[in-house]
């Protein structure tokens, strides 16, 4: 470990001895070991399987949507694929991936060298696997938001499996949140010196544990209503239930669900950015305040997801809008903190070369892109014009989910790669992956934004040949295929380099300045 790493604060601690964990782990160890790195790697690779599945669903219906007219997917298959795409990507890929990366990094960053409550992490993983199997067998077609009463009137006789899966996801995320919280508050730090990843794990752990309660209840209510467990219903209007009750309960989880992968991804930036740049973050307290504000703001602003409902109107609508706008403050605190850090000192040549650094910079670019559209989304007037129920919203959340969160998680994965394989990944393939994803994601997200602006509706498996609609869909599909190609290169790189890659140095990410004289110079603070 070089001095530069040791001496620059808690954020610099993410350094292990590179060793070939993946090559020397037996299948029994993979499945049941409570070693933190093995649990984390299991979660990470399972998340990539989920990404492959979700990507396959997406490319299937993307191909269907490229040109108007039904080609090969009917309504039922389309809705099933789209529902599973949403559920698998959010519950199966994004959240488990970032949580697993935190499992890997937290013990080292916190200096505990062990994951507290790792048994719960193990249980959380297997609960999620059961949920995924149930989802795939149940094949729900009610979209990931599972709006009542549609979610217990359509589909097939196994529909209840989808509802059980929602409950299991809630349990799994609750356990994961508990593990994050426990590890976030551990370690020998005063609160004022707690690494930012610790703050992230603490706040998001609490948010996990609180916000999944409504999700679990929503799942239970759907199950009970669908199977007629009780005389009266929670959500079925024909039996005394309320659809709006479902909306309020679901989106109490639904908005935090965005932050659950989001905050750990931010924590990964706070950890590897100082490590790769060789100096501290621009501001520690701005990050702390932003983490706390994000956690506080997450749940009350859920109703902005269904603003056209008539109970979200008048003063309450304004209240939710203002709260939503207030969440910009912590988000912008984070983004300015990162940008300022990048401009604090010349960026080392080693960082500019590093694939994780490239992904990190572009994920910051995409959070700005997504954040700019978010500013429009928060406005009520355009909300009822081109925003609500059009492709505009998918453009926004794909920028946030894929452009930022997934890319940041991929950056974290690339960063950790030499530590758990003992080898470096292939740089050229990494660059191909990087550029295919940046161009593909930009095309996809921008195409969706344009489609939304010309009122292309969501949740349709076919559409009229309106001016501009097909062109936008073609752009989105091309972008989608580029992302898919990048993913294939990525997986090949991961598998190939683990055996044939160059052996990693003791410090896989050494600092290397353009000007050797600056190597030892301290940046201005």
């Amino acid at each position: 470990m070089s001095d530069a790493i040791k001496n620059h604060g808690p954020g610099m601690l993410a350094h292990w001895t590179p060793e070939n964990i993946v090559g020397e782990t037996s299948i029994g160890d993979i499945l049941f070991s409570n070693d933190y790195r093995k649990i984390a790697l299991k979660g990470i690779f399972t998340a990539f399987i989920m990404l492959a599945l979700g990507g396959f669903f997406a490319l299937a219906f993307r191909s269907e949507l490229t040109v108007p007219g039904v080609q090969f997917l009917g309504a039922k298959v389309y809705m099933t694929l789209m529902t599973l795409h949403g559920m698998v990507m959010v519950f199966g890929f994004l959240i488990p991936l970032v949580v697993s990366i935190l499992y890997f990094m937290l013990p080292k960053v916190m200096g505990t060298e062990k994951l507290y409550w790792s048994g719960l992490a193990q249980l959380s993983y297997w609960t999620l696997i059961v949920a995924a199997v149930l989802l795939v067998i149940g094949r729900p077609d009610f979209t990931w938001t599972a709006y009542a009463p549609m979610s217990f009137r359509t589909g097939n006789p196994y529909l209840w499996m989808g509802h059980v899966a929602i409950i299991l996801v809630a349990i799994s995320e609750f356990l994961a949140g508990a593990v994050l919280f426990r590890n976030g508050i551990s370690g020998n730090f005063k609160w004022g010196e707690l690494p930012l990843m610790g703050w992230a794990a603490t706040t998001v752990g609490l948010l996990f544990m609180i916000s999944v309660l409504p999700l679990g209840f929503a799942g239970y209510g759907l199950l009970s209503d669908g199977l007629h467990w009780a005389q009266t219903a929670f959500f079925d209007p024909s039996r005394g239930g309320s659809i709006e009750r479902f909306l309020y309960i679901f989106w109490s989880y639904g908005h935090p669900a965005v932050y659950l992968p989001f905050v750990p991804a931010i924590a990964v930036i706070y950890t590897i950015m100082p490590r790769l740049l060789g100096h501290k973050m621009w501001s520690y307290w701005s990050g702390v305040v932003a983490f706390i504000l994000l956690a506080l703001g997450a749940m009350p602003i859920g109703p902005h997801h269904f603003q056209p409902v008539h109970t979200i109107s008048g003063g309450y609508e304004r209240f939710v809008q203002i709260l939503t706008m207030l969440v910009f403050i912590p988000s912008v605190l984070h983004v300015f903190n990162w940008i300022s850090t990048l401009f604090m000192a010349p960026i080392p040549a080693s960082a500019r070369r590093a694939i994780p650094f490239k992904f990190m910079v572009m994920s910051i670019a995409f959070i700005i892109y997504g954040g700019a559209t978010a500013f429009l989304n928060a406005q009520i007037a355009p909300d009822s014009d081109f925003i609500h129920n059009t492709y505009w919203i998918p453009a926004h959340f794909h920028a946030m989910f894929v452009g930022f969160t997934a890319q940041m998680a991929i950056a974290g994965f690339y960063y950790l790669y030499p530590y758990f394989t003992g080898r470096m990944f292939n740089q050229a393939m990494g660059n191909w992956h990087f550029w295919l994803w940046q161009i593909g994601l930009f095309l996809k997200i921008t195409g969706m934004g344009v489609a939304g602006y010309i009122y292309f509706p969501r949740w349709v498996y076919d559409y009229l040949d309106m001016p501009g609609w097909m062109e936008a869909q073609i752009v989105i599909t091309i972008g989608g295929y580029m992302v898919g190609a990048g993913f294939l290169i990525f997986i090949f790189n991961v598998a190939w380099s683990a055996r044939w890659g160059k052996t990693a140095a003791a410090d896989p990410w050494p600092l290397e300045m353009d000007d050797p004289a600056a190597q030892t110079a301290q940046p201005a603070e």
Binding site: I30, I49, A75, V77, V136, T154, S384, D462, L464
Partner: protein
């Protein structure tokens, strides 16, 4: 370890790919659950006298009301509709140019053509006919109106016993029965034109043109130029099949005065609805859809059949009373956008879609 996950992923991926595409069952919709009220009634909690029928008063709830901000737009759309109808050249309701054109007025119908002064009805080239609103098959000619039935020979207007033609209210109303001739019934109040059974009134437009009014009969004009009745005589029958996402006939050409029996079937997999709308109202509808607002003035439609379940069928008879074009569609969210919108138009009135 990576090999394990790649293999698991490939095998799992193939299984999932099968399950989610070819393995997906047919489109199904579970039967709606028995409502709490029905259940209570079966258990004897609800008195037999209590009605379980749909509550019409629910339609009066504020959720169906036009919001204030939209009322302005709606008023504009309706004004545009009125303006368009008011200025419509009635000469295209020409009963004089084609041989054998008839306007048959059934028992009890009214013909209400105008509430304003100066509205005109051309029966033939250059002629005008103004028939203001009154019950009992009367024909009032208001100030300055003229009825010119002059240009050709052979047209007849039969008014049965008991009918009156009142052209009395003001000076200056004229009725040209033949070229250059004037029939002035205006000089005295209450003057009536009583045409006894079997008598003919020469409308002198074309050979064989006739206007028969049965005893005590009036002619009813439907809203927006369409008169819709549950059944009755018809000239031709059109069977329309609704499927996802089209009608079996997307462009229906009709003739003025034609009576058509529509039989509409839902041949699709999901419920649909069926309505006729006038073009100006469609502008208001379009405005609403762009705001993702699904209260689409369906209750203002010229004809509305709210819910047609799969395999459902209904029929009605429609009479085209004015030249123009009308849209028919399913107004369930996104069904129109998906293609469930067609046009019915008289000759030359079809709009490009």
């Amino acid at each position: 370890m990576i090999r394990f996950f790649v293999l698991t992923g490939l095998i799992g991926g193939l299984a999932v790919a099968y399950l989610t595409t070819a393995g997906v069952g047919p489109i199904t919709q579970l039967p709606p659950p028995k409502s709490l009220l029905t259940d209570f009634r079966e258990k004897g909690y609800v008195p037999e006298s209590a009605s379980l029928e749909e509550d019409e008063a629910a339609e009066e709830l504020h959720v169906f009301e036009v919001p204030d901000e939209d009322a302005i737009y709606l008023a504009e759309a309706e004004a545009a509709f009125e303006a368009m109808m008011g200025s419509m050249d009635m000469s295209s309701m020409d009963m004089g140019t084609a041989d054998g054109a008839t306007m048959d007025m059934a028992d009890g119908s009214t013909m209400d053509m105008s509430t304003t002064e100066g509205a005109t009805m051309d029966m033939a080239d250059g002629s005008t006919m103004d028939m203001s609103t009154t019950e009992g098959a009367t024909m009032d000619m208001t100030d300055g109106s003229t009825m010119d039935m002059s240009t050709t020979e052979g047209a007849t207007m039969d008014m049965a016993e008991g009918s009156t033609m009142d052209m009395s209210t003001t000076e200056g109303a004229t009725m040209d029965m033949a070229e250059g001739s004037t029939m002035d019934m205006s000089t005295t109040e209450g003057a009536t034109m009583d045409m006894a059974e079997g008598s003919t009134m020469d409308m002198s437009t074309t050979d064989g043109a006739a206007m028969d009014m049965g005893e005590g009969s009036t002619m009813e004009m439907g809203e927006g130029g369409l008169l819709v009745t549950e059944d009755g005589d018809f000239d031709r029958e059109i069977v329309l099949i609704m499927t996802e996402w089209e009608f079996s006939d997307m462009q229906i050409d009709v003739k003025m005065g034609e009576r058509i029996k529509f039989t509409v079937k839902n041949g699709g997999q999901i419920p649909h609805e069926f309505m006729f709308m006038s073009p100006p109202l469609m502008q208001a509808v379009n405005y609403r859809t762009t705001r993702a607002d699904w209260s689409l003035f369906e209750h203002e439609a010229l004809f509305e059949k709210p819910l047609v379940l799969p395999d459902g069928e209904f029929s009605f008879v429609l009479q085209v009373q004015q030249p123009g074009s009308w849209m028919f569609m399913c107004m369930l969210p996104y069904h129109m956008q998906m293609g469930m919108m067609g046009q019915m138009a008289t000759e030359g009135m079809a709009m490009d879609m």
